[in-house]
């Protein structure tokens, strides 16, 4: 017996709707990513599609039914929330006060007219579908372009000039080379592993930075190993081999 991965029992269920055609799982993903509006999805047709594709005799039939019922219920909830008036609707929104019979009749009459107009529009759209206009698109009209030579020259200088190097005076004079520090590190490692903090405890800021670069360089060539058991924890330099 082969078991479907957990939560993938509907992976082979595909739907054919006006607004979407393809795997059901992708439909859910598109809705969750707001790439397909939930109000556009006819949930009744969706349920009918599942009932037609339902396989009660399958080994995972119950799991499929359960997964579909769960996801379909979530879609119903999502759709109802989408269609419900917002909680903080402004005063022009849908009122909570009960309507008088006359107001209700007026509202229903207005909605009935809108409904019939919508049906008329549906026919108009269907009748006029399939018209494709020219593929030519008009190129954007160029605006008034005036170039000042001084500004153009300045822009060119900025574009092609070298970026200023950051000042390094505050770092002080460099009194040690990378090779010298590599030698110091090798000597220290002869006595076993040593932490970076201990190695550089007597160094100034510049030498510490160069020592770090030297340690990285030595680690890269395989002369030592760098170990740090936890993020921001002590960095240990260990002899390789």
């Amino acid at each position: 017996m082969t078991l479907e991965p957990i939560g993938r029992s509907l992976s082979d269920f595909t739907v054919e709707l006006d607004v979407y055609s393809g795997p059901y799982e992708w439909l859910l993903a598109l809705i969750l990513k707001d790439e397909l509006e939930i109000f556009e999805v006819p949930l009744r047709e969706l349920v009918e599609s599942y009932l037609l594709a339902r396989r009660p005799d399958a080994a995972n039939g119950l799991e499929r039914d359960t997964d579909f019922a769960g996801s379909a219920a979530a879609l119903v909830l999502l759709k109802s929330r989408t269609l419900s008036p917002a909680v903080d609707a402004d005063t022009e929104g849908i009122e909570d006060e009960p309507l008088s019979p006359e107001e209700l009749a007026e509202r229903l009459t207005e909605y009935l007219k809108a409904r019939r107009a919508a049906e008329h529009l549906r026919n108009r759209f269907a009748t006029n579908a399939g018209h494709y206009a020219s593929g030519h698109t008009i190129a954007p009209r160029p605006g008034s372009l005036s170039i000042e030579p001084e500004r153009l020259s300045l822009a060119a200088r900025q574009a092609f000039s070298r970026v200023l190097e950051p000042p390094v005076r505050h770092l002080g004079p460099i009194t040690v080379t990378l090779q010298e520090l590599a030698g110091i590190i090798r000597t220290a490692l002869a006595g076993g592993p040593i932490s970076y903090e201990r190695l550089t405890s007597d160094m100034d800021l510049m030498n510490r930075a160069v020592a770090f670069a030297a340690a990285l360089s030595l680690a890269q060539e395989g002369s030592l190993r760098l170990a740090q058991t936890e993020p921001l924890g002590p960095l240990i330099l260990e002899p390789s081999g």
């Binding site: 006006d18 607004v19 979407y20 509006e37 939930i38 109000f39 556009e40 006819p42 989408t82 269609l83 419900s84 008036p85 917002a86 609707a89 402004d90 005063t91 022009e92 929104g93 849908i94 019979p101 209700l104 009749a105 509202r107 229903l108 009459t109 207005e110 909605y111 009935l112 007219k113 809108a114 409904r115 019939r116 107009a117 919508a118 049906e119 008329h120 529009l121 549906r122 108009r124 759209f125 269907a126 009748t127 006029n128 579908a129 399939g130 018209h131 494709y132 206009a133 020219s134 593929g135 030519h136 698109t137 008009i138």
Partner: protein
């Protein structure tokens, strides 16, 4: 071989209009066509009459449409299958019932705010409105300065008119003509019967 020189005949008015319409993806108004072709009003009218005949649906794969306040050359819907195969794209999915209702509100009751659309439909319509604006069928045409917060007013677009084959919003039947008096009477009767129906008995007399 010497290059043969062809003497181009001077284009007739219908040729000029045809050429301008061919390169336009949106409807061109009568005045736009006039200024582009430099034709007189009568020349333009006769040119359009000629083109209407030439591009009649039963005569050509291209049709001349009078939509959105202008003239537009489009493919004949009878040939849409071939066009869609050539462009490797399916026809856009039809609009939902909710979308049609929102468009109907904007067309017949607009310009109106999102809240007004929601009030007519009885449900929140913001998501539908957003989708229709993205599809270019609905547009914000102004603001309601008298309402708190000056919400945007929605109206239909020229693309909507072109998609429905309408020359202008006046090209649609009136709202009242779409609903019969019998329907309205039935609604009122049902409403009256539901509001005057006696409450169900609790089972035990008080």
């Amino acid at each position: 071989m010497s290059e043969q020189e062809w003497e181009l005949p001077s284009p007739r008015p219908a040729h000029l209009v045809e050429a301008v319409l061919l390169v336009s993806a949106s409807p061109l108004s009568f005045s736009d066509l006039g200024s582009a072709t430099d034709l007189t009003e009568s020349e333009l009218e006769s040119a359009l009459a000629c083109l209407r005949e030439r591009y009649a649906p039963e005569a050509s794969g291209i049709v001349l449409r009078d939509v959105a306040g202008g003239y537009l050359l489009s493919t004949n819907p009878a040939c849409s299958g071939a066009v869609e195969r050539f462009r490797s794209e399916a026809r856009p999915a039809p609009l939902s019932g909710a979308a049609h209702e929102v468009l109907a509100c904007a067309l017949y009751l607009g310009p109106l705010t999102r809240a007004a659309v929601s009030r007519v439909r009885g449900v929140n319509s913001d998501a539908v409105v957003r989708s229709l604006i993205e599809r270019g069928l609905l547009v914000e045409v102004g603001t309601d300065r008298e309402a708190p917060g000056s919400p945007a007013l929605l109206g239909v677009t020229d693309e909507f008119l072109a998609a429905t084959g309408a020359s202008s919003p006046d090209d649609f039947p009136t709202l009242d003509s779409l609903v019969t008096q019998e329907e309205l009477s039935r609604v009122r009767e049902r409403l009256a019967s539901s509001t005057t129906a006696p409450p169900e008995a609790d089972g035990e007399p008080s």
